[in-house]
């Protein structure tokens, strides 16, 4: 089961959830993912070993993909 979330003022919002056999849910997740990228969000997939990967295509095998905003030096 994969989950696409966006960090926002509510804490986070679940944009899509998908499972391996659910083709429609996967397609919807990919659409939501691309929409967020077009809005300027950055996609990050935590790997579970203390690292995360920047992703530009939705990794459908990932458990969690987080859409975050850009960071900058203060």
């Amino acid at each position: 089961m994969g989950r696409l979330i966006r960090l926002d003022r509510t804490g986070h919002t679940t944009l899509a959830e998908w499972s391996a056999g659910d083709h429609a849910a996967r397609e919807a997740a990919v659409r939501a993912f691309r929409h967020e990228l077009e809005r300027g969000m950055i996609a990050s997939a935590p790997t579970g070993n203390g690292t995360a990967e920047v992703v530009r295509e939705l990794p459908l095998d990932a458990d969690l993909v987080v859409m975050r905003r850009q960071i900058a030096g203060g």
């Binding site: 986070h12 990919v30 690292t51 920047v54 530009r56 990794p59 850009q70 960071i71």
Partner: protein, 238 residues
């Protein structure tokens, strides 16, 4: 529409670094060099104020008030710089935290919405960091992350990096470009994800505020911050 083939994860640099092509990448080598520069700078400041003060006293003992002013500068300038560095991270729940700013009287949200959002954000941050660090977040407001460059402590607006051996701390200012009402814990989660994506890229994007011994940074932290720094220093010393 076609779904990307799995696995579609590709190792990439931090996206934000691409907009900073003019900036020198932060690496192990540049950190060692910057550390030496900060030490030399601090020694230079101390000497620049101490030597004239002592010389004045030697030439004319009645000039001791001027000597005192010089010595005060020799102490105050490094102290102010260390304090500025210590203020960089902004722990969750601290005086400068985003959480109080999002209270209902700020017009951003109702109290229950604010509390719900902070709770949701803290839950996600807890899931990302794991059990041990979750307790540290709860007690100090900062998240700890081990990296190749050292042990990081992340706040809402910056980070502290305790170098391996625990003898030097780098203080960085780094935040979300457009925080737009994000809960405090989400701000830390943003920095944590970016750090995990590309540690050197994260340090390249961040602005270095200060570098020096942990005891100098520790003086500028509140009790919770000191506890977090002590934990990170111990972790970096192992």
């Amino acid at each position: 529409m076609t779904a990307a083939p799995a696995p579609a994860v590709a190792r990439a640099r931090l996206a934000e670094v691409e907009a900073l092509s003019w900036r020198e990448s932060t690496t192990e080598r540049t950190l060692r060099r910057d550390g030496r520069r900060w030490t030399a700078w601090t020694a230079g400041v101390v000497f620049a104020f101490t030597i004239p003060g002592v010389a004045l006293m030697a030439i004319e003992p009645l000039a001791f008030p001027a000597t005192l002013v010089c010595l005060a500068h020799a102490v105050a300038v490094p102290w102010i710089q260390a304090r500025r560095g210590a203020r960089s991270p902004v722990p969750i729940g601290s005086r400068r935290s985003a959480a109080p700013a999002r209270r209902p009287d700020s017009g951003e949200a109702r109290a229950d919405q604010v509390d719900d959002a902070e709770g949701v954000a803290l839950g996600l941050l807890g899931d990302l960091v794991g059990h041990e660090v979750r307790e540290l977040v709860g007690s100090t407001g900062m998240a700890m992350q081990h990296g190749r460059l050292g042990v990081w402590l992340l706040g809402e607006q910056g980070a502290l990096l305790v170098r391996p051996g625990g003898r030097r701390v780098f203080c960085w200012c780094v935040r979300i470009g457009d925080p737009g009402g994000l809960p405090a814990a989400d701000r830390v989660a943003h920095l944590l994800l970016a750090l995990r994506e590309d540690e050197e890229g994260f340090a390249t994007v961040a602005n270095l505020q200060f570098c020096g011994a942990p005891w100098r940074v520790r003086r500028g932290l509140d009790q919770r911050g000191r506890s977090a720094l002590d934990t990170a220093t111990r972790a970096a010393s192992r």
